[in-house]
Amino acid sequence: MLVIKDLYAKVEGKDILKGINLSINAGEVHVIMGPNGSGKSTLANVLAGNTNFEVTHGSVTFNGKDLLEMSADVRAKEGLFLGFQYPVEIPGVSMVNFLKTAVNEHRKYRDLPALSAGDFLKLMREKKAMVQIDSQLTNRSVNEGFSGGEKKKNEIFQMAMLEPSLAILDETDSGLDIDALRIVSNGVNMLKTPQNATILVTHYQRLLDYIVPDFVHVLYQGRIVKSAGKELALELEEKGYDWIKKELGE
């Protein structure tokens, strides 16, 4: 589904990613861990098409297409979703209008007719129940005045609405209390199908109490320095990142 080859990227003139290689297949859950500043969020943003990040080398194909050639909105319509670490508040843009526009842009891209107001509201009710988001939140402006937890739940809700084939969740678990973490994790698990894939970017093991990954990768200084099964997360939890650094001879 997603093939990243020798990817280099910089932000504000500083090299952050220095040769990422990663392949993701349908049905898989990948976890990317790593200390602060290792490039986790940069990778997520580069994949989503944030133009503040400049790709200097390498390639990314998504379902056989050149992802790096696409603008952010096309990537989304091709089935890629980024759950933001810090979802931005957008006063004046109502949740309903925002989601209706997004859903119908996706439909247009697939040559489907726009949803009627009734069908849209029905879809929204369904998905709200599924991810257990407070129904009042959708009456407000996008993320405006939402608590940290509400913002993260809202990301999962949007993911449920847009049904991406590849979801990249950037630190979606950070700052969540245990109840919110459970709701977010349940959402991710419920949305999982054999046809879609998930990349979880995190630096806490505790998310993995709720979501079982197929692969765990350690990102360090812009490269994936270690990949293994879910047991790697436990090892990291136990030994910290120093152990990896030592292995790398630092």
Binding site: A72, D73, F84, V88, I90, G92, V93, F98, A102
Partner: protein
């Protein structure tokens, strides 16, 4: 020296024009009224055409506009074949208004036939009111719009002949909004002087909407002054929608006095225009009066929109709240000056002011200046101004959900504008303005759908 010569020459030309046309200007109006012209002319000559060196016109230099201006003056009602019903029918569902038409500054009696107003309400030609309602006009005319304070107001008073007169008696509520449509329509370049007087009695209520339109592609200058007296406990909403083509200079002065306990909302929506200068003066002249003062201006190409407000807290316990926003595209320019004066004895004043602006290009330019003069300690005042760009983070967020950049930008601009539009209390009107603003931001023609006026060029 050259600049000085030009200034003088424009003033002399306008003064000569007045002298040469004196009989035409004064015809049909009584001496007591015409006597106000000479002092106004003297004041105008003293102040001259406002330009960069005029403190209150720092952001709007009108010397070039008047330099070679030789437009026809609309000194009498032009003959028109306009049928109001044909020209303007607003098809906003259930948006039912009392329509009033003013063409080239002249109240159009032939089209203003529907006079089904509540008892005692007078809506008529200003000129007729001068003759027929002397008590009311004499009491209020020229009292708020003082000729010594502003050159454009002085010029207006020199040439004033007609416009709109509205009188709402005490305790009368006009439920349907009054919709005044100012139309500019001429086969040659035209200079229009319009003078309005509106008197809202104690405990009266009304919603008044001014729509400024151009019907022909000619060059227009309109100098429009309105004096508005608001009685005790009255509730008045004033909405103004400026939608004129780029060859129009719309110079307006709105002078309002509020008495005790009255509530005012003003909202000036500038959709389109060439040079726009809106002077707004609100005098809070009775305790517990409240004014919410808003404006939204959308400009592109070489358009210029300058809002100048002067809120005077003369009595204690009044509250004023200003919110002005501009979205500037291309090489358009804008200005906002918000002057607040709190008098020494006007304790427990609350006066707030905010001006937020978005520049869409590097060439667009916005000047903003708060001017607070507070002469006592028992007040709550705040002011804030921002000039910024579209929030790139928010833009990426919307794009990352599949919304293309153009649409995402529109959503953000609309969201920015909507805070001002939300202050429009008449729901159907708010919906209509919402749609107009949306269309304007999309670069589509913004006008009421079935309105035959093709305003945008």
């Amino acid at each position: 020296m050259a600049e000085v010569t030009e200034k003088i020459s424009a003033v002399i030309r306008i003064s000569d024009l007045f002298s040469a046309n004196l009989p035409k200007i004064c015809v049909g109006l009584p001496d007591w009224f015409n006597h106000s012209r000479e002092p106004a002319l003297e004041a105008f000559q003293r102040m001259g055409i406002p330009g960069y060196k005029t403190e209150n016109y720092k952001y709007t230099d009108l010397t070039r506009l008047f330099e070679n201006e030789n437009f026809r003056r609309a000194l009498k009602t032009d003959e028109f074949d306009v049928d109001l019903k044909d020209v303007f029918s607003c098809d906003v569902p259930e948006f039912d208004t009392h329509l009033i038409l003013v063409v080239n500054g002249w109240y159009d009696d032939s089209n203003n036939l529907n006079k089904n107003y509540p008892d005692g309400v007078i809506i008529k030609s200003f000129q007729r009111a001068v003759v027929e309602n002397r008590d009311l006009v004499e009491k209020y005319y020229g009292k708020l719009a003082k000729v010594g304070d502003d050159p454009l107001t002085a010029m207006n008073t020199v040439f004033a002949q007609d416009g709109l007169f509205i009188y709402i008696p005490d305790n009368v509520h006009i439920v349907k909004p009054l919709q005044l449509i100012n139309i500019l329509r001429s086969e040659d370049d035209l200079f229009v002087t319009q003078r309005n007087l509106i008197i809202a009695g104690n405990n009266s209520q009304a919603k008044i909407m001014f729509c400024d339109h151009t019907l022909r592609p000619q060059n227009f200058i309109i100098n429009n002054v309105t004096e508005f007296e608001i009685g005790e406990d009255a509730v008045i909403d004033i909405y103004s929608i400026q939608n004129q083509h780029n060859k129009t200079a719309n110079l307006t002065g709105l002078y309002i006095r509020q008495q005790r306990g009255s509530t005012l909302v003003t909202n000036a929506i500038t959709l389109h225009g060439g040079i726009i200068r809106n002077n707004l003066s609100v005098l809070l002249d009775g305790e517990h009066a409240e004014a919410k003062i808003c404006g939204l201006a959308l400009s592109d190409k070489n358009q210029h929109v300058d809002n100048f407000t002067f809120i005077e807290h003369r009595k204690p316990s009044c509250r004023s709240n200003q919110l002005y926003k501009n979205i500037l595209d291309d090489s358009s320019t804008g200005g906002f000056t918000g002057r607040i004066h709190v008098a020494p004895h006007a304790v427990k004043t609350e006066a707030y002011q905010r001006n937020n602006n978005v520049l869409l290009t590097n060439a667009a330019k916005m000047n903003t200046k708060p001017q607070l003069v507070i002469d006592n300690d028992d007040v709550k005042c705040s002011h804030g101004a921002t000039v910024g760009r579209i929030n790139e983070e928010a833009l990426f967020y919307l794009q990352s959900r599949g919304i293309n950049e153009k649409e995402a930008r529109l959503m953000l601009m609309f969201a920015f504008a909507h805070e001002v539009l939300a202050e429009v209390k008449v729901e159907q009107l708010r919906d209509m303005i919402d749609k107009l603003v949306n269309k304007r931001l999309r670069g589509e023609v913004s006008k009421c759908h079935s309105c035959a006026m093709d305003c945008i060029r």
